[in-house]
């Protein structure tokens, strides 16, 4: 006689937001613990819970093809997220979601990004396509779209710097300013960030050039650049307004500069 699998859970805390993931698959649990090991905090109180059902790829209830982009929509009080490799339904009121996916880390990683972006939007925070690094107790963000140099600047960071991420930066607005948190969301460096936080000192818009230099950026231009780098998936008026407000506040509160750099470590002489 076959016994039914017993669900186990793991509590993954990113950006001070613990999310509980429950699954009956030991294989998937192992994947979660390996991928998010530095972010597991069993003592935290979850702010959101996921039930993950591991199913064969052919059984994922999605209407999206493998080659199509992620789809996020709000239907009857639920967020519905779909990609070729997963289908998820989230109930923001109950702070509970279900995901149907195969046993791989990529689907849950995408779901985490979306959930965190939705939760953060209500709290004045942002997920930004940016590398972030802590140096001398202060965090620096390096924002840019793919190819701008996020991984390059991370790779060139000096030994005294702590990498928070080379791909997706996590910003929270707290009572005493903005803080950058480490994330497990890795880019080409394929290395999760350290699970630490630090006050945000500056946001640099990356550009590669013939010399290392820092130039001022007008607020409106900073907003345009930051909005291009903000991760946001929902087409909900209130949430879009929240994100826009947060970005406006960020560029007024935190110095935003353009960092032009040649790809060698001397650029870090400017980041102190």
């Amino acid at each position: 006689m076959m016994g039914s699998a017993i669900a186990q859970d793991v509590l993954i805390e990113i950006g001070a937001m613990p999310v509980l993931v429950r699954t009956a698959s030991p294989e998937f649990l192992q994947i979660l613990q390996e991928r998010y090991g530095g972010f597991v905090n069993s003592a935290a109180q979850p702010v959101f819970e996921f039930e993950v059902e591991i199913v064969p790829p052919s059984s994922i209830p999605t209407a999206i093809g493998d080659d199509e982009d992620l789809s996020v929509c709000f239907e009857a009080g639920h967020w519905v997220l779909e990609r070729g490799d997963f289908h998820a339904e989230l109930d923001p009121a109950l702070r509970h979601g279900r995901i149907w996916q195969s046993a791989n880390p990529y689907a849950i990683d995408a779901a985490f990004r979306i959930v965190h972006s939705l939760l953060l939007a209500k709290q004045g925070g942002l997920l930004v396509h940016a590398a972030s690094v802590v140096r001398n107790g202060r965090a620096f963000l390096f924002a840019g779209v793919s190819g701008a140099g996020k991984t390059t600047i991370s790779r060139l960071a000096p030994p005294d710097a702590t990498l928070l991420t080379d791909e997706i930066s996590y910003l929270r607005r707290e009572s005493d300013g903005y803080f950058a948190y480490g994330t497990p969301f890795a880019g080409e460096l394929a290395q999760p960030g350290e699970n630490v936080r630090a006050p945000l000192a500056a946001l640099y818009l990356l550009a590669q050039g013939a010399e290392n230099r820092i130039d001022p950026v007008a607020e409106a231009d900073a907003l345009r650049a930051v909005m291009r780098c903000v991760l946001f998936f929902a087409q909900d008026c209130e949430l879009v307004g929240n994100v826009f407000d947060s970005a406006c506040h960020l560029v007024q509160y935190v110095p935003v500069r353009q960092l032009t750099f040649v790809p060698d470590s001397r650029v870090w002489e400017l980041i102190v």
Binding site: A218, E219, A220, L223, R224, M227, F232, Q235, D236, C237, V240, G241, F244, D245, C248, V251, Q252
Partner: protein
């Protein structure tokens, strides 16, 4: 010619930043910025004041512009913003969205 009424839609977030009006469409997350005269028109778009009056009061009275050209430019602007769902346009006064 019937009067044109314009009203801001609720599907946008708008903030004045560094002297520029920045507007984000919630429908498609497109970001727009308006110059000073366009901002004046946007801010006066209350749904009940005809566009001709808005141009007279908010544009011609504050900027050195030719009134005929100002109205023509305003109509083009309004048409463009309406296409992006940022403004509503009608030949009747527009009730405020609940």
């Amino acid at each position: 010619m019937s009067p044109m009424y314009i009203a801001r839609t609720r599907e946008v977030a708008a903030r004045l930043l560094g002297g520029e009006m920045m507007i984000m469409s919630a429908r498609d997350s497109t970001l727009f910025n308006l110059n000073e005269t366009a901002t004046a028109i946007w801010q006066a778009a209350d749904g009940v004041t005809p566009l001709t009056e808005i141009v007279e009061r908010s544009v011609c009275a504050n900027f050195e512009v030719d009134p005929v050209a100002a109205l023509r430019d305003a109509e083009e602007l309004v048409e463009g913003l309406a296409k992006h769902g940022i403004l509503k346009v009608s030949n009747q006064p527009i009730a405020e969205e609940k």
